[in-house]
């Protein structure tokens, strides 16, 4: 079925493709696209999907212990949303020619990555608030940008996700606000969670621009539209203001307003920790993968049985018709 396409033809197609992207015309599943564009998108979308699904675990950890029925309902709904987001994203990735089954296998074998942030443990209830406020806050900056990404199915999934996500950050901040106005223990819990989640949240934006020389291509293809440092600065500026409302502090002695830049200055990220967590040495890397693998393995007979039953029914129906 595949025709041998000459190099000159590929160059022509590539320029047509780039022209389309430059004009902000979305790329759709069946359109011609450079192989590298397809691969980059597939990897990015599937990793994003894995992040949503693994991201259910740290918060899921507190569902059964949520300290009020209202908070329990909110938390369940939020973690459930993440399952939904994972599902939307796997669907978007599936349009690029990989099955969810394959993508999940890559995750479980440790081949595919997910956001490192979820390899940190959730130690107190305040972590539910800090994750909503800081982690989801960081995620939203990225996700709002991704609503305009050039690949149509990814952009549409992101629009749906952003709509649902808007409650996530708000509920997190509200949960912290409640703690910040509460008992001494609650206040301490709140500050402790902010201290532990602040730096990992900053790491979510990735290495400094000066250390990621090859990200131009994905800017050119409009997969992403803002650099790591731009998004990180935006995040710091936002959070540095909001933390005042909580009456809490961020654990960075170098954090201060810079009138000249019109931005907050902030301290250096611990890149050694960053790389360690990326490489699988975070506090919970193993537990997270183990939990996903257990869900997959324990669900295997369920999925098989459902297929077997559907086939049985379809065969019986056919026989009836014949």
């Amino acid at each position: 079925m595949y025709k041998a396409i000459k190099m000159t033809e590929i160059t022509r197609l590539e320029s047509v493709f780039q022209d389309k992207v430059d004009k902000e015309i979305k790329v759709e599943a069946m359109d011609w696209m450079p192989e590298a564009y397809r691969k980059t998108n597939l990897r990015q979308i599937s990793q994003h999907a894995h992040s949503e699904v693994v991201g259910m675990l740290p918060e899921g950890n507190w569902i059964t212990r949520a300290p009020s029925l209202k908070r329990k309902a909110i938390l369940i709904a939020k973690v459930q949303d993440e399952a939904g987001h994972g599902l939307y994203l796997y669907s978007a990735a599936e349009t690029l020619g990989s099955s969810r089954e394959e993508m999940v296998a890559d995750l479980l074998m440790g081949k595919a990555k997910y956001s490192s942030i979820f390899n940190y443990p959730t130690l107190t209830w305040a972590d539910m608030g800090a994750i909503g406020w800081l982690v989801d806050g960081a995620a939203i900056l990225n996700q709002v940008m991704l609503c305009r990404t050039s690949y149509g199915p990814y952009a549409r999934a992101m629009v749906r996700i952003c709509k649902e996500e808007s409650f996530h950050q708000r509920q997190g901040f509200e949960a912290l606000l409640e703690l910040s106005r509460g008992t001494t223990e609650q206040k301490a819990m709140c500050q402790d969670a902010i201290n532990r989640w602040w730096w990992p949240s900053l790491m979510m934006f990735g290495p400094k621009d000066s250390d990621s020389p090859n990200s131009e291509l994905s800017m050119k293809w409009k997969i992403k539209r803002k650099t790591n440092d731009e998004l990180r600065q935006q995040f710091v500026d936002m959070i540095a203001q909001q933390v005042k409302i909580l009456g809490m502090t961020l654990p960075d002695s170098e954090l201060k307003w810079n009138d000249k830049r019109g931005h907050f200055d902030f301290g250096e990220i611990n890149w050694e920790e960053f790389w360690n967590v990326v490489k699988g040495n975070g506090p919970c890397n193993k537990q997270r993968l183990h939990a996903r693998r257990a869900a997959h393995d324990n669900g295997s007979w369920v999925r098989e049985a459902a297929v077997a039953y559907a086939e049985k029914k379809a065969a019986a129906k056919k026989q009836k018709v014949a």
């Binding site: 899921g60 949520a66 300290p67 009020s68 329990k72 459930q80 209830w125 703690l179 223990e185 257990a294």
Partner: protein
């Protein structure tokens, strides 16, 4: 008054404990679509529980304006012996066969109970029943499909269903034995659960038949939960659920 309050708490505890059990699946389901489905059921039940607890709190506060009861004090600060849920809902979630089967057996019961509660002389209970019935209809549809699918799926799924049925069955009888507070209120505020066993068995046996499973024969039935004597699993549910709230009982969250 006490029987009335006990009854509302019984309805509340039952839905809360099953919501808690089902929520344990969140993030661990067999496939994303079903992870979301079981979580939806958990949220439905939790919503029902909150309605009942709020109602119970208002009964308490009306009788004693200084009581300051609320949904959380009732869910989080009562001890195991005060919990009035039937044993069926507190059993460990087990595998997908046990979870879906338990949900099915419970939902069929709940549906029958709620239909009677539409006529409860406590109009608040009647209103909650009306809202809950729509949810329960979906729970029955979802769970019965799973019972059939697994019962009539592969040899492994069939045998897991058989195991689940054997494990769960002895805890179903308690649903139909009225607790003293139910007896006292049967036909007025409460539903007469002793009348529900027949229609329940009919629906259940139809579905089990389609699932190629056989209805277990007459056997001894455990029946203590509604009067506050629970299985050993219950202590762990409450230890987990109440730990944080109890560590700072006066704090708001």
């Amino acid at each position: 008054m006490n029987a009335h309050l006990d009854y509302v708490l019984h309805l509340a505890d039952t839905t809360l404990v099953l919501a808690q059990r089902n929520s344990e699946w969140c993030g661990h389901g067999p496939i994303l679509e079903q992870d979301i489905a079981i979580t939806n059921i958990s949220l439905d039940l939790l919503g029902q529980a909150r309605n009942y607890y709020q109602h119970a709190a208002s009964l308490i506060n009306t009788a004693n304006p200084n009581a300051q009861a609320d949904e959380d004090s009732l869910a989080y600060l009562r001890d195991e012996r005060e919990f009035k849920n039937p044993l069926l809902v507190e059993l460990e979630k087990g595998d997908w066969a046990k979870t879906t089967l338990r949900q099915f057996l419970f939902s069929v019961f709940q549906d029958l109970q709620l239909k009677r509660l539409l006529h409860s002389t406590d109009t608040q209970i009647a209103a909650i029943a009306e809202k809950s019935l729509k949810e329960t209809a979906y729970h029955i549809a979802w769970s019965s499909e799973w019972v059939i699918r697994l019962g009539d799926g592969t040899p492994e799924s069939h045998s897991r269903m058989v195991t689940a049925l054997n494990e769960v069955w002895e805890f179903t009888g308690g649903l139909f034995v009225p607790a003293p507070y139910e007896l006292q209120l049967a036909g007025t505020i409460a539903a007469d659960v002793s009348q529900l066993e027949k229609p329940w068995t009919e629906t259940v046996s139809n579905v089990l038949e389609e699932a190629t499973l056989s209805l277990p024969g007459k056997t001894f039935m455990q029946q203590s939960g509604k009067t506050g004597i629970h299985t050993e699993a219950m202590g762990y549910i409450l230890a987990e659920m109440q730990s944080l709230k109890r560590s700072l009982p006066t704090a708001t969250w």
